[in-house]
């Protein structure tokens, strides 16, 4: 039983057997990337802190600034002498040797959609053309390097905004959104599992029947539409029948100690899912964490979450991110996985009357780790009140060029829009060379 362009059931079994022979996927990936020589392809986990995290309360504290600027949090010493971060990053502060902070990011776009587009694509938004996000570019470049586990090339956990999507690139490079909340006990990736009434035999029968219908009918010739459809069906069957893919999406298979390490919350389990996916061969995963648009009660939001809460945004991020970095290190994946943590902009240096901070793109921080990044350093600095870059301003375009370089994607590579206009991946900007280890 073979569909003309597809893989038959034996093929699935064979793929399964390969992994049984202990040819770990990570190994296979490593071999592939080494074979690529200088242009080493790396994977990426992007933690998108949606809303715009306050630089002054996370990675760029100003203890000497006036009280209305410095706020409630104290800076804490980290494992790298001279680098301080917010006291509530209790775990992360112990692993700053793996982290590179850029404290002089600067942009002019203080509106969420514009900021998202600028940070996620490296291009300022224009009404003329929607640019593809990092993940879609990676999926486009690596579309022919099919994941051995039949995983999609760009996965969004749990959802994505349009700015994180494919822009002018083909729809096949849109993120595959897993949906739901990975921290819920009943979490399942949508439509990955057969409904109760179905079983493998019936699915196989349907597959066979569908092939029969197409074969028996002489009404419609094979065409681009049917070929696309066949390709999607093959990809879907592979996913459904792929034990690795199923396993990669199944958090229930994770060691409970590891699950606890990431934390019993949405961002923690999302990061764990991202790690599982990258480990199984998915080149790009975006984890979105909402709630960073702290216009009011910023200290409660960031520290406790709600009145009487045990953890706000920072402790949750701290647990998830530190667990992710540790886990990647233990599994030997950190060097081939870039971890990028950022939001669309920073927040106003002066606290507002609602005890919050508003949008502030002029200076903010991003965090990079793993993936060829030289850790234990801070790049750039903001001025004494965290208003503007004091040295080495870095634009989102510079960051994009750096990220693509780290991921092994040539920034000057050209793609074409649907109307044939050539567009480079990331033509402007300068690579932040000191960031690369």
């Amino acid at each position: 039983m073979v569909r003309c362009d597809g893989v038959n059931r034996r093929e699935f079994l064979r793929v399964g057997a390969l992994s049984a022979l202990n040819l770990g996927i990570a190994d296979a990936l490593r071999r592939r990337s080494l074979a690529d020589g200088g242009n080493r392809l790396r994977n990426c986990i992007l933690l998108w802190l949606d809303g715009g995290p306050s630089h002054l309360d996370t990675f760029d504290l100003k203890p000497d600034a006036p009280v209305e600027v410095r706020g409630d949090f104290k800076p804490a010493q980290t494992s790298v002498p001279g680098i301080q971060v917010c006291e509530h990053f209790r775990r992360l502060s112990g692993m700053m040797d793996r982290v590179c902070l850029v404290r002089s990011m600067t942009s002019e776009l203080g509106e969420h959609n514009f900021g998202r587009h600028y940070l996620l694509t490296g291009y300022k938004p224009t009404p003329v053309l929607a640019y593809p996000s990092y993940g879609s570019v990676v999926a486009h470049v690596r579309h022919d390097l099919a994941s051995p586990a039949a995983l999609p090339s760009y996965v969004a956990v749990p959802q994505f905004s349009e700015e994180a999507a494919n822009g002018y690139l083909p729809g096949s490079t849109r993120p595959f959104a897993v949906g739901g909340d990975p921290s819920r006990p009943d979490f399942r990736v949508r439509d990955l599992n057969m409904p109760d009434a179905m079983d493998a035999d019936r699915l196989e029968r349907r597959r066979q029947f569908l092939a029969d219908f197409d074969r028996l009918s002489d009404q419609v010739e094979k065409n681009a539409i049917s070929q696309n459809r066949d390709a999607h069906f093959e990809q879907a069957y592979r996913l459904i029948f792929s034990p690795e893919a199923k396993r990669a999406f199944d958090l229930g298979l994770e060691n409970s100690a590891v699950r606890q390490q990431y934390g019993p919350h949405r961002i923690g389990q999302s990061c764990l899912l991202a790690r599982r996916l990258v480990e199984a061969g998915c080149p790009f995963v975006t984890v979105t964490d909402n709630g960073w648009d702290t216009h009011g009660q910023i200290y409660r939001e960031l520290k406790e979450g709600f009145v009487g809460g045990y953890a706000g945004r920072i402790p949750l991020l701290d647990q998830a991110l530190s667990a992710l970095l540790d886990d990647l290190t233990v599994r030997g994946l950190l060097d081939e996985t870039l971890v990028l943590v950022m939001g669309e902009f920073g927040r106003t240096p002066k606290l507002n009357t609602a005890a919050g901070r508003d949008h502030w793109p002029r200076v903010f921080s991003v965090l990079l780790a793993g993936g060829g990044v030289r850790g234990g350093q801070v790049i750039g600095a903001s001025d004494s009140r965290g208003e503007s870059p004091a040295e080495r301003p870095v634009t989102p375009t510079d960051l994009a060029r750096t990220v693509y370089t780290l991921l092994g994607i040539e920034p000057n590579q050209e793609f074409h829009t649907s109307d044939g206009r050539p567009v480079k991946v990331s033509p402007g900007g300068q690579v932040i060379t000191e960031c690369i280890g």
Partner: protein
């Protein structure tokens, strides 16, 4: 000496004349090198002779000095659209060090591109070439900036060429007509024109205008000289048959045009579709619904010669026709409740339905849309202004939808592939500057759009035509001003231009929006009709004559320019009647052909030698699945029984429609020709609730038929009739009988469901063909 037949087509007004000229290959190849042929002048003219040299050498391209920030500190306007800027850059900037009047050949602008000194852009202007000499002579003459010589028009001869075989060559000639004082002086500018095949793998174009075909088919070659762009179509027959093609059936004027192109390409056409295939196709295309078995039967049993015309007439009058075509209008006008609120979207949809129902002329609809004001929750048409977030977006929407033109390139710079300027873009935006886009749509006393180049308020302007006010921001003196609204011209189609571009001398109103509306809908403005017929053509024929439908321009020629012109004229002369247009298209033999290829036309995807197979649109597919399974789709908050095609708002929740990729209507939706779903959709189809629930519903097809002991044979036949509108062939019936008949009731139910699932996913069901 081998001779090639070159067909010259000269488009003149409504007619086109074609005649054959036999030209010796050698004489074509040995065409004298183009050289400025007019009497020697004292100095080359900067605008019309020096800039073309720079353009031809690539100096002012977007990748070099034409980039917005220039290159290496030297900046030119993109493709030379701003001669004054370029003059300043070359002559005055950099303290005048780019030119050397005493030793012209020592000028930086010559030393660098000739690689006398290092140049990052490489060798662009070898010193032995004529271009170098033109620039040198101009510098030697003291760098005059006369501007006395103006480009009037450019003519490329011949405008289309048929080359019999791959490898054949032919030289085109580019003639520019310059106005010098009161004289019009022609000049052969072939060697200064920039020429390129739109597909470099299909043809090569030499610097002397020599075109060599590398592939069969229709190959547009773009020719640019200064601001003028035109396209020459090179045709290399796809078919091999040397004799006259088989007789081609003709139903109306559409077929005459389509057939002529098929003749040129020597493409055989597929035979007429069977009545059964035609019925399914016409139902899906015209009313968005599958025909019932009874409807198919009564059509097939009709023996009258005009049964197809009768069916078309019947369908055009069905209420579902209003549903389907209002849905399409909803996509075009982008009716959605996130911006318009549910009340606004409902009012807007109601207005559209009313227009489609009454067959309101399209020009009248446009007048209504532009003029409407008031409470948008009550006045449906007033929502048109609210779809855009601001004046610039509205200008883009209006130009895409009504002009069929993408004006947005001209936001930041003059359109590199078309005649549109920044003045056009910001001028059109200025027309919409004073609209309050809140719920209560109204005109404000003031409002402006800042022109990025001047930093001042842009003056309202007809694209490609006149300014509508004399001083920016202030209304024009009313009608006695004597200002005229521009003559409508189609930059995209030289052939149409003269026929529709009769002079108008309308006086201006005090209101630019009213001027725009009058200009758009005036009978001799060809834009609206051209853009609209192309959209409708695409809906029915699977591909626009111009693709994408909102990108008409000279450098993106139609596959059938004369057909587009004929349809445009026919539509305008029939009072912008949408039903008339639809009837004309579906009555043509081109529409009624089989979708199955015949030997020799398998690869044709644009010449209509067969019907183009296409996926059913999301809303049509949802309705078709509901109809076959007998389990209607329910939409939250919508009266039950409402079909997906009758929905007025793209935000009405529906997982099925979302996964199928319905147009969200927040931007122009142009479905890719070869869709075929997505991975999440396919996963949902296999494992999700939408299809599985409909298949396994006890009140659905399988539950009702197999459960009540209907014979398996009848069940199979019924499924085929409902979904594919035909009987199963004996071999199909034979194939399915055994698996479906085997086992007990439970197994038969399961297998029946699996059978139906596969049927609803097979290509024949999911496509219109």
């Amino acid at each position: 000496m081998a001779t090639i037949a070159v067909r010259l087509r000269v488009g003149v007004r409504h007619r086109s004349m074609a005649f054959l000229v036999a030209i010796g290959l050698a004489s074509a190849a040995a065409a004298p090198p183009a050289h400025p042929s007019d009497p020697p002048r004292s100095a080359p003219d900067f605008e019309t002779q020096v800039i073309p040299v720079l353009t031809r050498a690539g100096c002012n391209s977007g990748a070099c000095h034409g980039a917005a920030i220039g290159r290496g500190g030297f900046r030119l306007s993109l493709l030379g659209y701003d001669p004054s800027f370029d003059f300043d850059s070359v002559v005055n900037e950099f303290e005048g060090r780019r030119v050397n009047a005493v030793h012209p050949e020592k000028s930086l602008v010559l030393r660098k591109p000739s690689l006398d000194i290092d140049h990052q852009g490489g060798l662009r202007l070898p010193s032995a070439e004529l271009g170098f000499q033109v620039v040198r002579d101009w510098i030697a003459a003291g760098m005059p900036r006369s501007g006395q010589r103006k480009l009037e028009r450019v003519e490329v001869t011949p405008p289309s060429i048929v080359l019999p075989r791959v490898g054949d060559q032919f030289s085109i000639r580019v003639t520019a007509y310059f106005r010098e004082g009161d004289r019009i002086v022609p000049d052969d500018v072939t060697r200064w024109a920039v020429m390129s095949a739109s597909d470099p793998a299909a043809a090569t174009v030499g610097t002397d205008g020599n075109i060599s075909a590398l592939r069969r088919g229709q190959i547009p070659v773009l020719v640019r000289f200064l601001s003028e762009v035109s396209a020459v179509t090179v045709t290399v027959p796809i078919g091999d048959s040397p004799g006259t093609p088989t007789a081609r059936p003709v139903s109306n004027f559409i077929d005459e045009h389509v057939n002529r192109t098929l003749d040129e390409l020597r493409l055989p056409q597929s035979p007429r579709a069977s009545d059964i295939a035609f019925a399914r196709r016409a139902f899906l295309d015209l009313i968005g619904a599958l025909p019932t078995p009874t409807e198919v039967e009564s059509f097939v049993l009709d023996t009258r010669d005009d049964r197809r015309a009768r069916l078309i007439e019947h369908l055009i009058c069905r209420p579902e026709f209003v549903d389907l075509w209002s849905y399409k209008w909803g996509d075009w006008l982008r009716i959605e409740s996130r911006r318009l609120q549910p009340e606004g979207a409902a009012a807007f949809h109601h207005w559209v339905r009313d227009c489609v129902q009454r067959n309101t002329p399209v020009d009248a609809m446009i007048r209504d849309l532009l003029a409407a004001s008031g409470d948008a929750h009550q006045v449906g048409a007033a929502n048109f202004h609210r779809v855009a977030s601001d004046a610039r977006t509205e200008a883009e929407n209006v130009s895409r939808l009504f002009l069929g033109v993408r004006l947005q390139c001209a936001n930041c710079h003059n359109h590199p592939l078309d005649r549109w300027t920044q003045d056009d873009y910001h001028g059109l935006a200025a027309v919409f500057a004073n609209i309050d886009r809140g719920r209560n749509v109204r005109r404000l006393a003031r409002g402006e759009v800042i022109h990025p180049k001047t930093g001042q308020a842009a003056a309202p302007k007809i694209p490609g035509g006149a300014f509508l006010t004399q001083v920016s921001g202030k209304p024009a003196p009313a009608k006695e001003s004597g200002a005229t609204v521009a003559t409508a011209e189609l930059p995209g189609d030289a052939a149409i231009e003269p026929s529709l571009g009769a002079d108008r001398s309308d006086r201006l109103n005090a209101d630019p929006l009213k001027d725009l509306s009058e200009w758009l809908t005036s009978p001799d403005n060809p834009f609206v009709a051209r853009a609209f017929v192309n959209r409708v053509w695409r809906e029915l024929m699977g591909r626009g004559l111009v693709e994408p439908v909102d990108d008409h321009r000279a450098s993106n020629p139609a596959t059938h320019p004369e057909l587009l012109q004929a349809l445009t004229l026919d539509f305008a002369s029939h009072g912008f009647d949408m039903r008339h247009l639809i009837r004309s298209i579906v009555s043509s033999e081109a529409y009624q052909r089989s979708s199955t290829s015949t030997p020799g036309n398998a690869d044709d995807d644009r010449f209509y030698s067969k019907y183009l197979v296409r996926p059913l649109p999301p809303h049509v597919l949802v309705d078709a699945v509901s109809k076959v399974t007998g389990v209607p789709e329910r939409f939250e908050g919508i009266t039950s029984g409402t079909t997906a095609s009758a929905l007025g708002d793209s935000r009405i929740p529906s997982e099925a429609l979302d996964l199928l990729g319905r147009c969200a209507r927040d931007t122009e939706c142009i479905a890719t020709a070869a869709s075929g779903g997505s991975l999440p959709l396919t996963l949902h189809t296999i494992n999700g609730a939408w299809l599985n629930a409909k298949i396994s519903d006890p009140a659905g097809l399988v539950g009702r038929k197999l459960g009540t002991g209907e014979s398996v044979k009848e069940f199979i036949a019924e499924c085929y009739w409902l979904a594919l509108c035909r009987a199963p062939t004996p071999s199909e019936l034979d194939h399915w009988l055994d698996p479906l008949a085997a086992g007990g009731p439970e197994r038969r139910r399961d297998v029946g469901q699996d059978f139906l699932w596969a049927l609803l996913n097979c290509t024949e069901f999911c496509c219109n063909h």
